[in-house]
Symmetry: C2
C-alpha cells in the first residue's frame, strides 16, 4: 500500500514535468513580440533546459491586427486583458503593457486568480511593488521581474541569488541606455545635449517624449528596485533624489575629460550607518574604471559587497530580444517552481518578507561625495583667493583644479575644481557664498563625483 | 480531518524552514577559512535571505591546529574526512580540498549518503564531472559548484538560469587571475614573462609551482565546465586545445599594442555547425573592447547569445572571501531546495540530463580565427613578395602589417602581419613554407586573434 502510493506520487510528478507551461501575454508590442519570437525560435533549447515546453497560449492586446501579424494566427487573441487573466488554462501571466494603470489592475487580478506573474514594469514595481509582492505572498504565487532592470542582464538574479553571502555596500549602475547613448555622443562628437538627443531619437534610442529617460525617472525606478533587493528594504522610489542630463553642457564633459573623468548618468544606492543613499544624477567617474568605458546604449551595474568585493554586469539594457531573454528566464524559473511550495522559492525581494527592514533614505544634503565645480569668473587678481577661502571655511579641500586661460580680449574665464569627499550641505553653503561674490558672473555648475574604486 | 492534516503539513513546513542547515566543511585552507569567516560575520543577513541559519557544524582537515585556530573552537573537528561525510547530522558537505584524489572519494561517499555537495573543485569536475553528476542524480542530491569558475562572479548561475532563453553562441573568458596579472605586468612595465612571474609570486598571485596556471590548464578546466553549461554537452576537458603564456615575448605584447590590440589568455568555447571549439591560448583582442581592459588579477567572462546579445560578468576570480561568496550562495540555494523534489531544482549542467547531447570538439586545425604572425627576416629585397605569395596561395589575406626599420648595422628585421579570419590548417601550411625560406631566420611566432564584437 505504501509502495503503491509512492509509485503513484512519482508518476504524477513525471506527468507534471512534461506538461507545458501555459503563458498568457498581456501586450504584444516590442518586448511582447520579441518574447513570442524567441520562445518560438528557441523552443527546443528552452525546453531542454526547463524540462517542459513553455508556450504562449493567449495574447491580449488592443491592437488585434498587430497581434495577429506577430503571432501568425497560432495563438488565441483577445482585446480584453481580463479575459486573459481569468482564463483557467493559463498558468503564468506575462505583463508587458507598462505604466501604473490597467497593468496594475491586471496583475492584481492575475494574482487573485492564483496565477504567477512575470513583468518588465519597473515603474509599477518601484511605486506599487510592496503592495504587489504582499498580494503575491498572500496567494502563494511568484511575481518575477528580471526584465524590469537592465534588460537582458541577469542582475536581479545576481543580487537575489548570486551574492547572498554578502553585505552589499553600494550599487552604481548605468541603467538607462538612452542617456548613456546621449552622453557617449556628446563626448565623442563634442556636441550639445540637444543635438545628441536628436541623434538618439533618429536612431530609435530615445522616444518622441524622452522625459522619463533624460530626466532620470526611469533610472530612479530601477535603482529603487535594486536597492530593495540589495539591502532588504521596501521600495522607496518617492524618496530618491533625481537629476537628469538635460542641463548638462558639452563644456563640462570636456573639462571632466581633461581631468581624467567621464560623466555617466548613474543610479546609486549606498548603505550607510544612518540610512541609505538613493540617487540618480550625472556623475564624474575616473576614466580608467571599466564602467566608465561602457559606451552607447549599453548598461552596466557595478556592485560592491563585503565578501566578493566589486563585481560588474554588462549588456544590453533594452530592446525586443534582450528584454525577452529576461522575461523567458523568469518563465523557466516559474516552470521549475510553480508547483513547489513557497519556502522552496527565492523571496521576491531577495530577503524573507518578515526580514525586510524599513530604513530611511538620507536627504541629499546629507550624502558624502566629491564634487566638480565650474565657476564663471571675472579674470581679476584675488578671485581664486576669495573662492578657496570660502571652501576652506566649509572644510572643503580641493583635489584638482583647472583655470582656463581667457581668450584674447575676453574678460571672464572658467575655474574648474574637484573637491575631496565632503558632505553635500557644506557644498551648498559654499556655492551660495561663492555665487554672492561680485566677480562670479554665473550660477556655479555642480556635479557629483564617485571614485567607484 | 482534511483540515487537520493540512494544518499539520503547514506546521511541519514552518519548522523545516527555521531549522538550521548543517554544513560539514572538508578543508579549512584559504577558501575554507574564508567561508567560515563570512558565514560567521554575515550570519544575520544570510539567514534573512535564506530563511534559516546556515552553520558549519564540523570541519575535517589534516591540520587540526590550523582548524582550531580558524574556527576558534566553536565547531567539532576531525582529521578524518570520512567521519564527516558519514555524520548523519550533516545536510551538506562543502569540499574545498581540491584535486582528483581523496576529494573525489569523499564527494562520492557524501552523495551515496544522500548529502548535498558544494565544491570549488574545477579540476575534479572538468575531468570526472559527468560521473559525479550522474551519481548525484541517482541519489537525488544537489552538487553545486559556483565557486569552481571565476571565484565570486555568479557566472554559473548566469549561464544556468539567467540566459536560459538563449542559444549561446560563444564564451570568451579571462578566467585565470594569475596569468592576467602577469600579462598586465608585462604590458605595463614592458618586462619579460619570467620577470612578471616573479612579481606575481612575490605578491601572492602565483604559486611556487605555477604550472597549472601559466600553462593554461586551470583555464581549460573552467572553460570545459562553462562549455558544458552553455551548450548542453558533456565535460570534454581532455579534448581542449591548451596553450599557456610562458613562451609569450614582451615584443609581441608591444607590437600588438601598436596595432591596437591587447593580449589576454582566453578560455574560448564556440558553438559551430560541425562541433564545438574548445581552446585556451593567448589571444589578441581589440584594445577598445571592454574585456581588453580587464587588468591585474581580475576575471571577466563575455557571453554571446542569440537573444540577449553580448553580456559580460566581471569580478575577482580567486581569493578567500570572493570564493567563499560563491560557496555560500550555493549553500543558500541548497537551503531553499534541499527538501524539494528534484524537478523543482535547476539541472546541474543547465540542461535536463536526458537532453545533454554529445557533440564533438573540433581539432584545432579546423578552427576559424584571425592570426598574428611575427617573422624574423633578412632585410633583403623581395622578402615580402615571397611571404605574401605563400599566404595568397593559402587564401590568407592580410589585414594589417608592420615592418620594423632595422637598427643601424642590423641585417635582420621583424615583419608583423595580422590576417583576416581563415582556417588554422591553412596557416599551418603557410608557416611551414615561410619557415623554409632561406631569408627567414627564426621560427614564426603565431598568435590567434578574436574580434569579440
Amino acid at each position: 500500500m505504501a509502495i503503491e502510493s509512492a509509485g503513484l506520487v512519482e508518476k504524477t510528478t513525471e506527468t507534471e514535468q512534461l506538461k507545458p507551461l501555459n503563458v498568457g501575454l498581456l501586450g504584444i508590442g516590442t518586448v511582447g513580440g520579441g518574447t513570442f519570437a524567441v520562445l518560438t525560435r528557441n523552443a527546443a533549447v528552452i525546453s531542454r533546459r526547463a524540462g517542459r515546453p513553455i508556450r504562449i497560449v493567449k495574447v491580449a492586446d488592443k491592437n488585434l491586427e498587430l497581434a495577429r501579424r506577430v503571432t501568425g494566427g497560432a495563438v488565441a487573441l483577445t482585446e480584453d486583458g481580463f479575459a486573459l487573466v481569468n482564463d483557467p488554462s493559463i498558468d503564468v501571466v506575462v505583463e508587458l503593457i507598462g505604466g501604473y494603470g490597467i497593468a496594475k489592475d491586471l496583475i492584481m487580478a492575475a494574482i487573485s486568480n492564483g496565477k504567477h506573474v512575470v513583468t518588465a514594469n519597473k515603474a509599477l514595481l518601484a511605486v506599487h511593488g510592496d503592495e504587489i509582492f504582499a498580494a503575491a505572498r498572500a496567494h502563494g504565487v511568484i511575481v518575477a521581474f528580471e526584465a524590469a532592470v537592465a534588460g537582458g542582464i541577469p542582475i536581479i538574479k545576481a543580487l537575489r541569488e548570486g551574492l547572498t553571502a554578502n553585505r552589499i555596500q553600494w550599487i552604481a549602475g548605468i541603467i538607462n541606455g538612452t542617456t548613456n547613448f546621449i552622453l557617449s555622443e556628446m563626448r565623442d562628437k563634442g556636441i550639445s545635449f540637444a543635438a545628441a538627443l536628436e541623434d538618439a531619437q533618429r536612431m530609435g534610442y530615445a522616444e518622441a517624449d524622452p522625459t522619463f529617460d533624460i530626466e532620470g525617472v526611469d533610472a530612479a525606478h530601477k535603482i529603487a528596485i535594486l536597492s530593495a533587493l540589495a539591502f532588504g528594504i521596501p521600495m522607496q522610489f518617492s524618496r530618491a533624489h533625481i537629476e537628469g542630463i538635460s542641463k548638462l553642457e558639452a563644456d563640462d564633459i570636456r573639462y571632466a575629460e581633461q581631468l581624467g573623468y567621464r560623466i555617466k548618468l548613474l543610479g546609486i544606492a549606498k548603505w550607510r550607518a544612518g540610512g541609505v543613499e538613493l540617487r540618480v544624477h550625472p556623475t564624474l567617474i575616473p576614466a580608467r574604471r571599466l564602467i566608465a568605458n561602457v559606451e552607447g546604449a549599453m548598461n552596466a551595474i557595478l556592485v560592491q559587497a563585503d565578501a566578493v568585493g566589486s563585481t560588474m554586469y554588462y549588456g544590453k539594457g533594452a530592446g525586443a530580444e534582450p528584454t525577452a531573454s529576461a522575461v523567458i528566464a523568469d518563465l523557466v524559473d516559474v516552470a521549475r517552481l510553480h508547483k513547489a511550495s513557497p519556502e522552496h522559492r527565492v523571496p521576491s525581494l531577495a530577503f524573507q518578507p518578515d526580514a525586510v527592514k524599513d530604513t530611511s533614505v538620507m536627504p541629499i544634503a546629507e550624502i558624502d561625495s566629491g564634487y566638480y565645480l565650474r565657476l564663471r569668473v571675472e579674470d581679476k587678481r584675488g578671485v581664486l583667493a576669495d573662492i578657496t577661502r570660502i571652501l576652506a571655511d566649509q572644510q572643503i579641500s580641493i583635489d584638482a583644479m583647472i583655470q582656463r586661460e581667457p581668450d584674447e580680449g575676453e574678460s571672464q574665464t572658467d575655474i574648474i575644481m574637484l573637491t575631496h569627499v565632503t558632505k553635500e550641505r557644506f557644498v551648498d553653503i559654499a556655492i551660495s557664498k561663492i555665487e554672492a561674490l561680485p566677480v562670479v558672473t554665473q550660477r556655479v555648475v555642480r556635479l557629483r563625483m564617485e571614485d567607484l574604486g
